[in-house]
């Protein structure tokens, strides 16, 4: 710290110090090496390759054929599944994320009431999150079974009619089924635990002060809890949206993107083009568009966050 300040105001540093600095830097780079290699070999290198491939036709058998912007033009103008799958993916994320944030915050507040058996309730809420996505898709497939599944049985009993949703078989209901499945795994998961820690970090004095000012339950929630939790909400929201936009395995196993493309998520679209049709160039272009969209969306969220996220430790 002191050397840093000295250096920053331009004082010449003694020789032994710079030597030590150099030694430290070299050691630091050596410890960083596994990741640096990994970054180049498994992330940056492949990204550049797929960037290049996105301007080619490549069917794996023949060498890549440079076609310029043809893939992108085709995607935006001819691909009948591009816009629907992108929109559907966003719709899914914009439903799942807010609902699971509200659910997780409610669950966390419930667990913060010092009820007896809280540890048990927390475990019960958390277990769905632990279920492997594939297993969860398999078991929900059975629970949502249109004919003999328990959910439809209850719906029929409650409504007294024979009309019940077809869930994963029904284009109008498959998405709802996936959303329910995702919420089951998300509400009691990491999001809830992080909220719980956030709630426990709100200083009691603030609540006491609010009570002195005559605040009721709602006013305390609205004016103390929520503002103090905005960093946590923001963190959970950004991660939640990124995760939801990438959804693949759940839909792939539960609905295979159907019926009638009703759950044809963007990741499924890329997968199909790449590994079913072996259109590696085209699929790379799709992937890069996705990356760009995700990046922009996340960037906008960070920009927006300055307006509503309040960091208690920050000096204005």
């Amino acid at each position: 710290m002191t050397t840093k300040t000295l250096a920053s105001i331009g004082l010449p540093l003694p020789r032994w110090m710079t030597n030590l600095r150099a030694k430290e830097a070299i050691a630091g780079y050596i410890f960083l090496l596994p990741w640096a290699l990994g970054l180049i070999l498994f992330i940056v290198g492949p990204m550049m390759t797929s960037g290049f491939l996105s301007f080619t036709r490549y069917d794996v058998v023949n060498p890549p054929d440079f076609v310029g912007l043809k893939n992108f033009i085709e995607i935006f103008s001819k691909d009948r599944l591009f816009w629907p799958s992108l929109m559907l993916t966003f719709r899914y994320a914009l439903i799942v994320v807010p609902l699971s944030l509200v659910g997780a915050l409610s669950a966390a507040m419930l667990l913060n009431q010092a009820l007896r058996g809280t540890a048990w309730f927390r475990t019960f809420f958390f277990l769905p999150h632990l279920t492997p996505i594939v297993a969860s898709a398999v078991l929900w497939g059975w629970i949502f079974n249109a004919d003999v599944g328990p959910i439809n049985h209850w719906i029929r009993t409650l409504t007294g009619s024979d009309n019940a949703p077809g869930w994963f078989r029904d284009p109008d209901w498959a998405m709802t089924g996936l959303i329910i499945m995702a919420m089951w795994g998300a509400i009691g998961g990491n999001t809830m635990l992080i909220f719980l820690a956030g709630l426990q970090g709100v200083p009691q004095e603030l609540y006491d002060a609010a009570v002195v000012d005559g605040a009721g339950l709602w006013a305390k929630f609205r004016n103390v809890t929520i503002p103090m939790l905005t960093p946590t909400i923001f963190f959970n929201m950004v991660l939640g949206i990124i995760g939801a936009l990438k959804v693949f395995a759940a839909a792939f196993v539960a609905t295979q993107g159907g019926p009638a493309y009703a759950t044809w998520f963007y990741a499924l679209h890329i997968y199909t083009r790449a590994f079913q049709y072996f259109e590696m160039g085209y699929a790379s272009a799709l992937a890069w568009i996705f990356f760009f969209v995700l990046f922009t969306f996340t960037y906008v969220q960070f920009r927006q966050s300055r307006r509503w996220v309040y960091y208690a430790g920050e000096v204005d």
Binding site: G28, L32, G38, Q113, T131, P132, I133, L193, I194, A249
Partner: protein, 308 residues
């Protein structure tokens, strides 16, 4: 209900024993409030647990019982032999071993190298460190599809397809950005005076890492290990893309394969009851690990949510 309590309170206040009655009505209100909270907690627990209960119960039924209308809760006679039967129908034992092998080896690599890299980010000063750290964090946002296609082509070229190498080797290069972040955050919370004291006593960087920092980081290392093991166990896309031979499958893709064939009655009846048993068997190890490591796990997840 609250209105009622207030009404009773007023009535008694009229009787003149003011403070005691007010206290009583307030505690009465609170009791009702608590009761409601318990009711909500219990019923939402039931909602969350229902799919598990249903799956376990279904896994103990006879195949035909699952198709009964209206659906029944309990199996007529619990069919525990459904579980061994899964092993006969598909290569369940092999898949379980494959999953265990891949998960353990890649967890080892990921945690070890993430600790080294986290140490570098937390304890050393060098040019571009913070930029590199931000790059590391931003890779969390990267959709896998951007790297998946070139990785597939690369692994195909060097003959790694249909082996476990694509699932394991990348783990030895820093694991994941999330793990590195987790380790770095923890190292930052250890006072640097410890390092300096060891340095004065003549310890080198490796020694400080191995003998000072790592022993103090057992909880976070355990957390990292458990989280990585779980995500490897559950991983679907990578094994699905990189493995072809059925006997090389991991559980995640094995169960999907099983699901695809379970509906077709090749001999007698659909095998959904066995599919449910398979789901239970895939989930059970994760739940057991969770119970063993609960304390660490919750702590680690919470730590990841704290800004730093």
């Amino acid at each position: 209900m609250a209105g009622e309590a207030i009404a009773t309170g007023r009535k008694r206040t009229g009787n003149g024993i003011l403070s005691a009655d007010l206290f009583q009505s307030a505690s009465f209100q609170r009791a009702i409030g608590r009761g409601l909270l318990y009711l909500i907690a219990v019923s939402s627990s039931a909602v969350f647990m229902f799919p598990f209960v249903w799956t376990v119960l279904s896994s103990l039924k006879r195949g035909g019982e699952l198709f009964r209308f209206p659906p029944t809760w309990l199996p007529e006679v619990p069919q525990f032999q459904n579980y061994p039967k899964v092993f006969e129908i598909v290569s369940w034992a092999t898949w379980t071993w494959n999953s265990t092998f891949v998960a353990i080896v890649s967890t080892f690599g990921a945690v070890l190298t993430a600790a080294l890299v986290g140490y570098s980010f937390a304890r050393f000063r060098y040019p571009a460190r913070d930029v590199l750290f931000i790059i590391t964090l931003s890779t969390m946002m990267l959709p896998v599809e951007v790297t998946l296609i070139p990785l597939y082509l690369m692994f195909a070229k060097i003959g790694w397809l249909d082996t476990y190498r694509p699932l394991i080797i990348p783990s030895f290069f820093g694991g994941s950005a999330f793990l590195i972040f987790l380790m770095r955050q923890f190292f930052l919370s250890i006072p640097i005076d410890l390092d300096e004291a060891a340095r004065i006593d003549g310890a080198g960087y490796v020694r400080i890492f191995w003998q000072i920092l790592m022993p103090l980081s057992i909880p976070v290392t355990a957390t990292a290990a458990v989280l990585t093991f779980m995500s490897q166990w559950n991983e679907f896309l990578y094994p699905f893309i990189f493995l072809n031979t059925k006997t090389k499958y991991t559980l995640a893709i094995g169960i999907r394969y099983f699901q695809a064939v379970a509906g077709f009655a090749d001999d007698t009846e659909p095998k959904y009851h066995l599919l449910m048993a398979a789901s239970v068997m895939m989930t059970a190890p994760i739940i057991i690990i969770f119970f063993l490591a609960q304390r660490y796990l919750v702590q680690g997840i919470v730590m990841s949510g704290i800004k730093g």
